[in-house]
Symmetry: C2
DNA sequence: CCCTGGGTATACTGATCGGTGAACCCACCA
DNA sequence: TGGTGGGTTCACCGATCAGTATACCCAGGG
């Protein structure tokens, strides 16, 4: 018997609709009826596939996380040298935010779902931890001094740029500049 | 005839309950019935005072903004010298986040209320713009080079530290250190 | 003394919330 | 040929949502 979590055409349609609606309108504000209607499937099928709204929310975030990690990893891999690779996530951020005007889906989810037992919390924390570890690994690979502290600083910059995205200020370019300066100052060939 | 917006004992109780519940549990997740019950007043009185939930939300954010600005301004005023004053908001942030584990109430509100016409948007934007202007003014007063860019960078750092507050990483100390380094490097007596 | 106004108490509206029950339809496969 | 299982249709559940109606209570002030 195939697990209900196996890929099915209906499952993909539901996730696509959930991602669009949840991100644009907020998780609490969007009901399962709306998602069912928007994806052209039945509420019954939705519950057969995901079991509850909470698990659907977690699946939406996990899918978004997967897409985002792919973009970041590709951008890192395309970097010219190990030093440029450290700030590659900021290049990916420019691409990502072009279609994400409402800030970070994971921070937003934590804002709406205060219960730490909600499955969305694990997904959100995993995402931020992955980025922090990525920064640390890239900084170490580039020979940067104090990779731990540098990684924390880069994470804060990254989240700050994302958090200010819904505001009418332009912060991304300035943030990326600062990130590159930090890495330059920490890498071994620094003057 | 006194305007319904005048101070009244009931109004204060409602705002106190709203602030606690909205911040802790989220705006959409908290109903007006819960606020009425929690503040010991009647839903009828709540609507007589605020007119609608949207306006109550705006009033909650405005009140929180007022309290936060007072703290920040006091911290700035207590600074030893103009250079230290530039990063004083990061000292205030340490005090503020001690009782605010769920991140920035304004960013959270924008996450939950995507409609730009919602009165909460204006309050949230005003808050961030006030901080940006404060940073710029303090940087200029301290004689820092490039006060505009510096202010943007400090704002991003500030929001990044706030946004990562719900996460199990400790970012505030490292962020404040970085902020001080940025100001030190930009102020005229820099080496 | 009485009246006005802020507040209370209670009941109610129609809509929507997350979630379920039961019967059915149909393509694929043994 | 006859299941089997993913999907549909539609009705339904109790709870809660934002917001309103009506009637009452009571302190302050002319």
């Amino acid at each position: 018997m195939p697990a209900p979590h196996a890929a099915s055409p209906a499952r993909g349609r539901i996730l696509a609709a959930a991602e669009e609606l949840f991100y644009d309108q907020g998780i609490t504000a969007v009901g399962v009826d709306l998602i069912a209607e928007h994806s052209g499937i039945t509420k019954r099928t939705l519950y057969n596939q995901f079991g509850s709204k909470a698990q659907l929310v977690a699946a939406y975030l996990a899918e978004r996380d997967r897409r985002w990690r792919t973009l970041v990893q590709e951008t890192v891999d395309r970097s010219d040298d190990p030093v440029a690779a450290v700030t590659a996530p900021f290049d990916a951020l420019r691409t990502w935010t072009a279609t994400s005007p409402r800030g970070c889906a994971f921070i937003n989810a934590l804002a709406e779902l205060p219960d730490p037992a909600h499955p969305a919390h694990r997904v959100a924390e995993d995402q931020k931890r992955w980025l922090l570890d990525l920064f640390r690994g890239l900084a170490a690979a580039a020979g940067c001094a104090g990779p731990d502290a540098l990684a924390t600083r880069l994470l804060v910059l990254h989240e700050g740029a994302l958090a200010t995205r819904p505001l009418p200020f332009d912060t991304l370019a300035e943030t990326a500049d600062l990130a590159r300066e930090l890495v330059s100052a920490a890498e071994p060939s620094a003057v």
